[in-house]
Symmetry: C2
Subunit: 413 residues, 2 copies
């Protein structure tokens, strides 16, 4: 038996579900709309996608997506398909065209969402996965236990180089573990990448000499390939320990090439993820998407945060984080680090830890740190104390009694 690629979908169809499943399997392998002389039974047995499972869920009266021709009712189901690896070989770009190509546009489909992906071991041999992952990130950041307490440079865009490094000065003086550029911060003439990196790293290196621990700064190098390589080399030369890229901006080839070149962890930003996921009847669940990005080399993956300021539910956030923390294969786990952000404070420490059972994560707070009446250092301390309490199973109000920074934080969190 050869290797097979497995994908699961949430499907809604106005057609007979078994027929719709066969149409999808056919369209994504040897078939087309009409019977073809060349599609012999032998060819179909060799190259055809196989319907592995079709589980009916419910029927509804209205289609979730606009359809070319109305039906009396629409059936929702779980559909599992598989393909022989021989159709494409262990190639992520070709995998995308196979499991997430034309099928979303099919006339038989009034809703289709890819929910799961199981890849054969040949993909683990063909792709490197994260170069640093959780262990490498902890080593570079000098954080053995607990989460990396992080923050984002704000305003997102508009600060000068001096204003940016001034903000970083405050943060490293306050003992922060991790700082990231906003994804809108690029290489504009008002805050050029090279000058920003030099000014920020001067501050970070000076602080590291004093404290013995170097804050990790994720510089946004998103751009064309030669720009990204050159920017990476500058960050490395300046003693930096992380680079950031917007995955939906650079695409899969961009990430794969950056991974090949990079000697630093890749902080993977998912901005644009909303257009891939926010319609429940279309697009992508995070589990299959992050799997592809991890294989290609993402070390840190954004998962939003509990009680976030966006529209995502807590349930979805936790499912995303669990997916990022799950091994891809037993022999090749390719662990990446989930990044929690968006309206975060120490109040999210306990529910986040309880849901995941681990603190192998980056927890980024903006106002939750800068808003502390005692200043940035007190804000960072309060975040850390909230996490220590969470990991010890201690209630946050209880823990705050003997911890003044945390106590002062609770008032505004």
């Amino acid at each position: 038996m050869g290797e097979r690629i497995h994908a699961t979908y949430w499907l809604e169809t106005g057609d007979d579900p078994a027929r719709a499943a066969e149409v999808i399997a056919g369209e994504q392998s040897s078939g087309t709309f009409v019977a073809l002389p060349g599609e012999t039974p032998e060819l179909k047995a060799r190259a055809g996608a196989r319907v592995e499972r079709l589980e009916l869920l419910e029927t509804v009266a209205q289609p979730s997506l606009p359809v070319a021709k109305a039906s009396a009712r629409y059936t929702r189901c779980v559909l599992a398909l598989s393909w022989p690896i021989e159709n494409l070989g262990p190639s992520l770009p070709n995998l995308l065209a196979t499991v997430a190509g034309n099928l979303f546009e099919l006339r038989q489909v009034s809703g289709l969402r890819i929910t799961g992906l199981r890849l054969p071991p040949s993909f683990a041999a063909a792709y490197p996965g994260p170069a640093f992952g959780i262990a490498g990130t902890r080593r570079l950041a000098g954080v053995e236990h607990g989460p990396l307490i992080g923050t984002i440079i704000k305003p997102s865009v508009g600060l000068s180089v001096a204003e940016t490094s001034g903000q970083v000065q405050q943060l490293v003086d306050g003992g922060i573990d991790f700082i990231k550029d906003d994804e809108l911060q690029a290489d504009g003439p008002a805050c050029p990448f090279d000058q920003r990196v030099r000014a920020v790293m001067r501050v970070v290196r000076d602080a590291a000499e004093r404290t013995g621990r170097k804050a990790m700064v994720a510089f946004n190098l998103t751009g064309e390939l030669d720009q990204m390589k050159r920017r990476h080399d500058l960050v490395l030369a300046e003693g930096g320990t992380c680079v950031m890229a917007s995955l939906n901006s650079i695409g899969l080839v961009g990430l794969t090439e950056l991974r090949r070149h990079s000697q630093l962890p890749i902080h993977a930003h998912r901005n644009g993820w909303g257009y891939l996921t926010r319609c429940p009847a279309l697009g992508w669940d995070y589990a299959p998407w992050q799997q592809i990005q991890r294989l290609a080399g993402a070390d840190h993956l954004h998962v939003n945060g509990l009680a976030n300021k966006f529209s995502e539910s807590d349930e979805s956030v936790i499912a995303a984080a669990r997916a990022v923390l799950a091994p891809l294969w037993d022999h090749a786990p390719m662990h990446a680090m989930p990044v929690f952000s968006s309206g975060q404070t120490g109040r999210q420490a306990r529910p986040t830890f309880d849901a995941l059972g681990t603190a192998d994560l980056i927890h980024a707070a903006g106002g939750g740190i800068f808003g502390h009446p005692g200043g940035v250092a007190a804000g960072v301390t309060a975040m850390r104390e909230a996490w220590n309490a969470a990991m010890a199973g201690e209630a946050i109000d209880e823990a705050a009694r003997t911890r003044p920074a945390l106590q002062a934080a609770l008032g505004f969190w």
Copy 2:
């Protein structure tokens, strides 16, 4: 006045529309969820996105997308935003994070779709656009007037190298202008890319020696960057005149790098487009999306076809084709060639030509050619005759009276 980037959106919000517009503008530039000490009026004036237009369309009782908190009603509007180029510089990857980044996830948004994009001339200076476009494609294919009559190798995947070149033999003997791989055909062990190219090009070159005109074959080289470059070089060495790539598989950096390397037209496949567009309240219109791909270097862009077998309406197909044919700038039109496919026959020639007023396109038919009772040559001839009639303003039934191949085709089209 400096250059500005302009984007338009269809927006649905449960909030006050003017406030929602400001939140989106803020989130995508200098602002964040809360007021920040560093976001001074000067910084905001310099770096803030500007709401250029907000036109109310209608209100509805239910949100199009799931929302975190329900509202009594939801307002739909046209929103136009602009950004100073200084925020990011003329960079397509950074542009994506700015005009199509986090905004889709905002809590104020119950529907958001990017519908238009107007870029300042510095983008035209920074990016090359298509290397061949319409004129270069016509020259290489030896087709001066009318559309390139094309087809797709089917079954999509599963044919051996010999079976593939056998099918190509039939097609070039029949006088076809253009042949493409299916997007599922890659470099699997059952039909390796190199062997396929060598076998197919032998057939194509032999036919060209006899007829003086070389059919254009778009070989699907989608893969990692080094693979794509190597495959391109083989196609070029074998006398091939086109390569094909799946844009949503390789991403923007993949396309930009392929354009830098390529000496052949890039046939850009849009598979996966469904998950970007099929929910009317989310994602992308084709106009802004194809604009980015053309800037990066796509020569041919898929637009589906009239009366297609997918779920897209004719109106949407024509809007997409018009977008591809419209100049990007007067001084830098960067014309690309639209590709019509999916259930196409000569019956779509007239309405396609009438809607566009041009035959600067590729018209790909599968069953519409192979199904002809007189064989492939008669099928190709019938397609060409249907287009000649369309361009002459002649009714197809009228034209068929004196054209036997077309007459015979009308029965099964």
